[in-house]
Symmetry: none
Subunit: 423 residues, 2 copies
């Protein structure tokens, strides 16, 4: 997930703080160094290879909970890039270490392996000029490839960081994955107590700086009823009618726009045969906000709507074979959190964005960074550069026009070096 | 499909007419004749063979649209029973002629070859006492075997009918088959202009007399929209909200109960991920009535509701990435029709049921007989005798206790002879 949250961004822009002088100076020193310039020249010189990596990664299926093939490919890529302690952990995350010169806290730079697209989705990348089209190409294949480009650039420029840098490919960032990869990493992973800063590179926009983690509540609502023959049992309650009523009521809600609150009915299923009144029908619902209080209010209303819909169906039709009931199964609960605007990580990252000529857009989103944010570990989510759109749709695209692509990539590299320190 | 429609049956029973004297007399004359008694004795004497035929037919797979193996076996059986002009037509129906003594209209007695069960279903018949268990054994393997028993009984008793009798095994009676076999027979078959009466033997109950063909219109409605990220694209149209609105409106319809009109939203699907606004959502809809006019009215209203739901969604939310549209895919279209209670065919069949000691249950259903009924060709659906249950389930069973089985079989034989006339 990489989209900038427009309203939060607008709000943030309106109250934008100047980046403090010290981080600006630190970053300027890095960006103006001969080594950094060599690194950026390498990003440019190897841009075709990076594009080839984006294409290769995109075309390896990584549906939710089925990221193993892409994980294994990425593991091999990390090894080929000379990282140490390359491994796939118990949850399926891939990682490898680039040793620094000191013993400082670890800096993690991460991208997610998984896509929202189910098995069987055509992932063939289609190219039109500098545009590449394919599901998942922006979210988050490009980031995975860009992290590899950073490794080559750092090596070519002979740059050593003070902190160790861990390159991480996570599973389960999207949807029902419920941040399972990054949660495991922070709850049970072997590096969990060493992490000083965490970057999630998720999506494209190099000006985007996510420092607020949008919380979400997700449910599968299953309406159950007696079921029966569509003709013989006509007139009995239909759980699908109750479900439809709930969706209609839910979509009547006009949530506040400030703080932004959103909802969606996203996946439905149910029924067995066209000539049978179904005995069950379900839908999945997504509710989000950066504001925990607004989110809780929406959740309460949602639950009341579901109950009322079941009752309305039982009142509208016969319950002689049984009534409609609704069961609510939690399928997602992402913590809200934030890294303060005044923190060194946010300040340095903002400085890196500015140093490359962009205007930082401070924003809120739901990404792997939610997990460390909720634990108080400094974390931000940044873009991989270039432009793109239509993430989570089959029309997803990126533009890899080299000049803008490399400039965008340079932001993350500068931010990483600012966080990890350079000798 | 052979299930009696309980409500229609109860209603019919309440207003049951006495069977007129003339058909009663005709049937009594047949049933009391020495030849008929010989025929029934043959049914009894050969009952074990009939059971063996039921088992053999049941164990030959005949999934929807894949009835060829069973058709070929049945063709060979019809030839072995001495029928003339045995053939498999272009649609896959099997048939053979038993010549009569005159030139009268043809009488067709039919059973369907297809089952509801997909390829790979275990069709092994399990026997417990007089009970046989296997998918499709009641619906409609027993009928296919009983028709063969009739041929042997007629031959043994030396009975010649006035009308030619055509024994027919149809394809595509169930579900998505949409009566394709019997429709072909009546629309393009070589006998289509010669048919004076049509029996469909479908299911078990020897008291059941289907003289009303419930018509159905079935659609898959696919709502499509742009799709997008549940948070980033919040506010755009959601095809699922449109679908839900359509279901809610559809379920506001209060159709007449006389003639009975029913509808159902039965199977739904759509969406790819909990955090994506779906780009498509669909539902399947079933509408039925024995009254063609009422069914057409409902269908018109249904279509208007779907269009209005798409438009309402486009008015309620943003179409900046695209609008919601609905596509309607016909998946079933069974004609409605009926054969009047006062017709000679219904009166004689009722008399045959009574003559064998059962109380006729006049009922409405959707069977192969719908096709001739819709064309005004006299048609009824009757049972093959014995008892059974759980049709369309893997627990389907019949009881072949010989006394009751033969008594039930005798009903159809008497009805056939009454319709075809005996020298």
């Amino acid at each position: 997930m990489f989209r900038r949250l427009t309203l939060a961004a607008a709000l943030a822009a309106a109250i934008a703080l100047p980046v403090s002088a010290a981080p600006k100076d630190e970053v300027a020193q890095i960006v103006e160094s001969a080594a950094f310039k060599t690194a950026v020249q390498t990003l440019a010189a190897e841009h075709d290879r990076t594009v080839a990596d984006i294409v290769a990664i995109t075309q390896i299926p990584a549906p939710p909970f089925k990221e193993a093939a892409r994980a294994e490919a990425y593991r091999a890529m990390l090894e080929a890039h000379g990282l140490q302690d390359v491994e796939i952990d118990a949850e399926g995350n891939v990682m490898g270490l680039r040793k620094g010169t000191g013993d400082g806290p670890l800096v993690v730079i991460s991208a997610h392996l998984d896509t929202v697209f189910p098995e069987g989705t055509d992932l063939t990348v289609r190219r039109e000029g500098t545009r590449l089209y394919a599901p998942g190409i922006a979210d988050d294949s490009r980031s995975l490839a860009v992290l590899l480009a950073y490794l080559r650039a750092l090596d070519a420029a002979g740059i050593r960081t003070r902190s160790d840098v861990l390159v991480l490919g996570t599973v389960g960032e999207e949807g029902a994955g419920d941040l399972r990869g990054v949660r495991h990493f922070f709850e049970k992973g072997k590096y969990k107590d060493r992490i000083g800063a965490f970057f999630s590179m998720d999506g494209i926009d190099p000006a985007n700086l996510v420092h607020v983690g949008v919380g979400s509540k997700r449910y599968r609502a299953v309406f159950k009823g007696p079921g029966g023959h569509s003709y013989g049992a006509f007139g009995i309650v239909n759980p699908m009618a109750a479900l439809a009523g709930a969706i209609v009521e839910f979509y009547e809600i006009r949530p506040p726009t400030r703080p932004k609150v959103t909802y969606s009915a996203s996946v439905i299923g149910g029924g067995t045969s066209v000539n049978a009144i179904p005995d069950a029908a379900y839908a999945e619902f997504d509710m989000r906000s950066a504001d925990a209080g607004e989110l809780a209010k929406l959740e309460t209303r949602f639950k009341a709507i579901l109950e009322a819909a079941a009752q309305a169906e039982n009142a509208a039709r016969s319950t002689r074979f049984g009534a409609v009931e609704v069961e609510l199964i939690p399928i997602g609960d992402r913590p809200a959190g934030s890294t303060p605007r005044t923190s060194p990580l946010v300040a340095r990252t903002a400085a890196a964005i500015e140093a490359l000529g962009y205007r930082p857009v401070f924003s809120a989103s739901s990404t792997d960074a939610n997990a460390p944010m909720a634990l108080g570990v400094p974390a931000v989510t940044i873009g991989s550069g270039g432009s793109g759109g239509r993430a989570h749709s089959l029309q997803e695209w990126i533009d890899v026009e080299p000049v803008e692509s490399v400039r965008g990539m340079s932001v993350g590299l500068a931010a990483l070096l600012a966080a990890a320190g350079v000798e």
